[in-house]
Symmetry: C2
Subunit: 358 residues, 2 copies
């Protein structure tokens, strides 16, 4: 380890900010000229393999960071900020985004948005660090947000730093200048409800999400529209709000099955809640789909793991990730967007959890 690096390490330990290594230092370590180091950094091909290897090694030893890593438009880096990485939703979105990024020759960095309070370094002088700090510190050129609601202050800081942002599936109505990618929630719910109506069901219950969520409202509206088109008015006792998780689905379906006149079909606005619904149906001594039909929403892999396989409204999660990345690249290029709000089509995937009314 070189003298300078040792100094740097001490600076880190003492909390002082670190000095950037200069090309001159790298050149000295590598035993070459500054010009040669510069050539390696800029990917020129008039450098021999051996020299390049020596310089690469010296750059890494010094932890050299290019100032304005974004100056080369060929290698851009963007951030994917998610509320968490566990589970099928983030995995699918990240997978679609990575594939699109590969095509576009863009690098993807991942972050989990943590609340400022839980930041482990809050005491060390970087108090209040949130995902915006991380993005700016990282020098990313753009951000895709997945299941993370940006606060207006956070959006303002990104805008000020000229870092564009695309939000996937915002929970609440975003400001008009925020670009978002979602799905046709209304149409998906309409199609799911119509599917049940076509199979003769009339008493169709809805388990939807929290009423303040943008897409829960759209799904509820789609259900109502399909019911109304079949001449069926609202039956408030058949409509319940869950919280998208399995336990909440079980709970809401238990309540529905306890009604004097229980439903014959359930449209449940998330696969996880629908799987919870399966439990409640089973507890009541009933079978899916013989006694009661169930339609979910999402088409996560788990819809195929359960038995019977779940009929559900497919959200194209990979395409959402891909679309968000491509939209972000257009923003980075300064291209005009046709619309700040992109909605991808849902499709109904019919499996084994729905049957005609007996």
């Amino acid at each position: 380890m070189c003298e300078k690096c040792r100094e740097n390490r001490e600076r880190i330990v003492t909390g002082t900010s670190m000095q950037r290594a200069t090309l001159a230092q790298i050149a000295e370590t590598a035993g070459v000229s500054v010009s040669t180091v510069s050539k390696v950094l800029n990917g020129r091909d008039d450098v021999s393999r051996d020299t390049r290897a020596k310089v690469d090694s010296a750059l890494r030893r010094h932890r050299y960071v290019r100032r304005g890593a974004s100056l080369d438009p060929a290698v851009r880096t963007v951030d994917l900020v998610m509320s968490g990485l566990d589970g099928s939703w983030p995995a699918s979105v990240a997978s679609g985004m990575e594939a699109a990024a590969y095509e576009a020759r863009v690098h993807v960095s991942i972050h989990v948005a943590r609340s400022a309070r839980s930041a482990p370094h809050a005491a060390g002088g970087t108090a209040g660090q949130d995902w915006v700090d991380r993005v700016l510190e990282r020098g990313s050129e753009g951000v895709v947000l997945g299941l993370v609601e940006p606060a207006s202050g956070q959006l303002a800081r990104l805008r000020q730093a000229d870092v564009p942002c695309v939000v996937i599936d915002p929970l609440s109505d975003p400001p008009p200048d925020v670009v978002s990618v979602g799905t046709t929630n209304w149409a998906g719910a309409y199609e799911a409800t119509s599917h049940l109506l076509q199979r003769g069901h009339r008493r169709i219950a809805l388990v939807t999400g929290p009423p303040d969520h943008l897409y829960a409202r759209a799904r509820t509206a789609g259900y109502h529209s399909a019911m109304a088109a079949a001449g069926l008015g609202p039956a408030p006792e058949l409509i319940r709000n869950g919280t998208y998780d399995r336990a909440s689905g079980a709970e809401q379906v238990r309540a529905l099955l306890a009604l004097p006149e229980p439903p014959t079909a359930l449209f449940i606005c998330s696969d996880h809640m629908a799987i919870g619904g399966y439990e409640a149906v089973s507890e009541a001594g009933l079978r899916v789909p013989e006694d009661i039909s169930v339609v979910g929403f999402d088409d996560l892999p788990e819809a195929r793991w359960v038995s019977p396989a779940l009929t559900t409204v497919r959200q194209p999660l990979k395409e959402m990730g891909g679309s968000a990345l491509r939209t972000l690249v257009r923003l980075l290029n300064g291209d005009e967007l046709e619309t700040p709000r992109i909605e991808l089509a849902t499709t109904l995937v019919v499996r084994d959890s729905t049957a005609p009314l007996r």
Copy 2:
């Protein structure tokens, strides 16, 4: 809009890369010196109100952005290279790694390892680009490989570039100088088999992975050891090799159930194969666990989605991701490792798919 900006816009339209405005241009627009513009940018207070306003206005007109001003060389970036991002396995590993990276103040970039043949830019002068090229191009300081087998040439290139590498769950015996993180496959299989033996089962079938996989061999050995400890010799007809996916699990279990003397318990070396096994059991008109007990391996989230919930050997995937990251950081710091091969403990999670022999 200034002349330069107009030029810039034209460059964008024509696909040429954009020129950043310089302080000299700002200075000219504002009618001041470059020094003064620099002072304003750096927040010095020896600038008059009027001059500052003129400069601010010019900066805005030129859309001047300081790029990479906050890049901190203490921030390190490492790559997570996976065979794919879909599914629970990569999601859990990535989640654990991200959490550890956050603690260590390391940024994580994600890549999917694609074969060189499928690279979309292969024709554009970057033929043969594989994940090693991407890692080096990106300037990452280290790599974690998940479900990706590094070829010896790839390892050599990383070594030459001084980029350390940690492999999670290698399929084949890695070279002795490659650091890897795995789980105690032998002990996990031993525990699973013992669990079935303790419940009175004697005719216990094994569905394991391809015989050339390192961890499949370890699991098979653990099964044999537990059987032998109970005084049971090998029964070759009860041992089958699958390919870890659901369909292969169903296929192998169908064959086992068709034996003249079928097993009363199945130890199936992946949750996905075990869920396929459920199908085969159901097709045969049998029930889990009343007629046949099933133990899986992995403890992916899907083990809890199926019914009955699957008894399985838990691999601590998040911890593996976290451990890989922490090990990589130690390598980056030049610390010595106690061992190049880290094995994390598995635990048996008993759920509803195992019952005493009737």
